[in-house]
C-alpha cells in the first residue's frame, strides 16, 4: 500500500514522499523504518514519532479508557500521519473477576 510519508521540518512545515513500507521495527533505541519511494528509491527512517499508551487490564478491562486517552493525545498533538497498532499483552490470561 502506497502512503504519504511526512518528514516534519518544524510544527508548521515539512516535505512528503509517497512510498511503501518495507520494514518497521522497534529497536531497543529507536523506531526503525524502511520505505521504497519513486522519488528517492529506498529510504531509511529513524524515530518517526511514536506514542505508546499502556493500561493495565488486571482488575478490569481498561481498553476503552486507553482508546479515549489515545484519541485525546492525537487531537492535542495533531500528527501528520497516524498508524495505530493494538497489542493485547497476556490476552490469553483470564481477567481477574471484577470485584463488585
Amino acid at each position: 500500500m502506497s502512503e504519504k510519508i511526512f518528514e516534519t521540518l518544524n510544527p508548521a512545515s515539512g516535505v512528503y514522499f509517497t512510498g511503501t513500507l518495507v520494514e518497521r521495527r522497534q529497536t531497543p533505541y529507536q523506531l526503525l523504518e524502511v520505505y521504497d519511494t519513486p522519488e528517492l528509491g529506498r529510504m531509511f527512517r529513524l524515530d518517526g514519532a511514536t506514542l505508546d499508551v499502556y493500561v493495565c487490564n488486571y482488575t478490569s478491562d481498561n481498553t476503552g479508557k486507553a482508546e479515549a486517552v489515545y484519541a485525546e493525545l492525537v487531537k492535542a498533538l495533531k500528527p501528520a500521519d497516524v498508524l495505530v497498532e493494538r497489542v493485547m499483552r497476556g490476552r490469553d490470561l483470564p481477567l481477574k473477576k471484577r470485584v463488585a
Binding site: 511526512f6 510544527p11 512545515s13 512528503y16 519511494t37 522519488e39 501528520a80
Partner: protein, 281 residues
Amino acid sequence: MPEKILERLNDGSGVYFEGTLVERRRTPFQLLEVYDTPELGRIFRLDGYNMTSERDEFFYHENLVHPAAVAHPEPRRALVIGGGDGGSSEELLKHPGLEGVHMVELDPDVIEVSKAQFAKVHRGVFDNPRLKVTVGDGLAYLRTTAERYDLVCLDLTDPVGPSMELYSPATFALAKRAMTSNGALTLHIGSPFSHPGRVRQTMANLRQVFKRVTPYFAYIPVYGSIWGFACASDVIDPRAMSASEVESVIGARKLRDLQYYNGETHRAVFAIPNYVKPLVG
C-alpha cells in the same frame, strides 16, 4: 481551521505547510487561493500550486531579477510577462536607471488579490509611476509590440497545461524580437531534482534562440526544492562578473532592501552540481 497545504513537486513528493484558508476564488483563468501559514506568512496559490509567500518571496524575486539586471550595463526598459503579484516589478524598479517596467498580466484577479493581500510582496509598486500594468495575454503582446526592452522576465506559472506554449522556442524567439541587441531574458526552469525533464527541455529550447544561456539555481522554500533559473541573451553573461564587481554595481546603483542577493550569492548561484550538468549542457 488549519489544514495541510500540499505543494506537489511530482507524483512522488512535495512539501507542505500548515495554514488557514483566507480566500478562494475561481477566476476566468484559474483557481486562486490565499492561505495564512505560520511558516511563510501569507501564501498565494494558483491552480493548487504555490506562487509566492510574504516571508520567502525575496528568494525567488531577487534571483529572478538581479543577476541579469546587475550584469546588464545600463537597463532602461523592462518587461514582465505575468508577475501579477508585483514582486518582480518591485525588484526591477530598485535599479534607478530603469525608466519603466511594463507588466503584462493575464488575470486581473491576480493583480486585485495581490494589491489587497500581498503588500509585503509588492511593497507599493503598483503606486510607482514607473510601473505600467497591462491586463492581457503576454504572448499576444510579444507578437505585436514594437517596444524593445533591455530586460524581459517571464514570471509565469509552471510549464504545464496552458503555460506550456510560453516556454516554447517560438515564444522565446518572440521575446528576443522584443529585446534590445544586448538584452537579457530571465525565467524559472523548474527543479533539477524533481523535474529534470522540464529543466533539460527548457534549456534546450532557450539554446535554439539565444547564444548565451546561463542556468543558475537557488533553493526556494515555498516551492520546497532547489529551483532552476536561466538568463538568456546574445551578449550578457552574468557569470563573467566577480563578486566585487557585483558589489560595486550594487553600490553604484544604491540597490537597497536586498535580503538575498549580494556579490557572493551572484557567484554562488551559477555553481552547477555534477548531477545537474547533463541537464543543462
